[in-house]
Symmetry: C2
DNA sequence: CCGGATCCAATATGATACTG
DNA sequence: CAGTATCATATTGGATCCGG
C-alpha cells in the first residue's frame, strides 16, 4: 500500500483528498430537504414538472427547478423533453438515483418509527 | 378500519395529518448538511464540543451549537455537562440517534460508490 | 407547460466580543 | 472551555413577469 506512494511522491494522498472533497461536495448538494423530498416523491415513477410540484408539498417553482437541475447534473435523474406544444418534460430517477432513494426511504421510516420519542423529547426540552 | 372513523367523526384523519406534519417538521430539522455530518462524526463515541468542532470539517462555532441544541431537543443526542472548571461538555448519540446514523452511513457509502458516475455526469452536464 | 430572469424579503451563516 | 449575543454579510426562497 505505501510502496507506490513512496516511489511516486504523494499521488494517492492527493487522489484521496480530491475524492474526499468531491464526496463532501456531493453530500452538500444532496443532503438538503428539497432534494431528498423530490427524490422520495419521484420514487420509481415518471413525473412531469407540474406533477412533481403537486407531490412535493410546499415547494416553490424556483426551488423545484433549481433542485431538479442540480439532481440532473449529478446524474441522479433523467430529464426527458417532449417537443410538443405545450411542452411536456418528464423526470425519472436513474440507477444511482434509485439507489439513493432506498437510503432516503430508510430515513423516512426512521422518522415515523421515532415520532413519539421525538415529540416527547421536544416537550421535555421546551420547558 | 373505517368503522370507528365513521362513528366518531374524523379523529383518525386528524391524527394522521398531525403525524404527517410532525414527520415533515422532523425531516426538515434533520435533513440538513450540518446535522447529518455531526451525527456521522459522532458515531458511537462520546465527544466534547471542541472535539466535534475539529471533527466536522469547516463547521463554525455557531452552526455547531445551533445544531447540537436542535439534535438534543429532538432526543437524538445526550448532552452531559461536567461541572468542572474549565467546563467540559460531552455529547453522545442516543438510541434513536444511533439508528439514524446507520441510515446516514448508507448515504455516505452511496456517495463513495457513485463518485465517478457523478463526476462524469457533472462533466457532461457542464458543457 | 416549462423554466429562465429579476426583484425583494427572510433567513442562514460567519466573525467577533463577552460571560460563567 | 462552552456558550450567548450582536452585527454584518451571504445565501435562500418566494412572487412575478416574460419567452420558447
Amino acid at each position: 500500500m505505501g510502496t507506490r506512494r513512496q516511489l511516486e511522491g504523494l499521488p494517492e494522498d492527493a487522489d484521496l483528498r480530491r475524492a474526499d472533497s468531491l464526496a463532501r461536495e456531493i453530500f452538500s448538494d444532496v443532503a438538503n430537504k428539497w432534494a431528498l423530498l423530490i427524490i422520495e416523491a419521484l420514487g420509481d415513477r415518471t413525473l412531469r414538472f407540474s406533477e412533481l410540484r403537486d407531490e412535493v408539498d410546499g415547494i416553490s417553482h424556483k426551488m423545484l427547478t433549481q433542485n431538479l437541475r442540480m439532481l440532473e447534473r449529478n446524474g441522479l435523474l433523467d430529464r426527458r423533453i417532449h417537443p410538443t406544444v405545450p411542452p411536456k418534460v418528464e423526470y425519472t430517477l436513474t440507477g444511482p438515483g434509485r439507489a439513493l432513494r432506498t437510503t432516503i426511504d430508510a430515513m423516512c421510516a426512521w422518522t415515523h418509527r421515532n415520532l413519539t420519542h421525538i415529540e416527547a423529547s421536544r416537550n421535555r426540552f421546551d420547558t
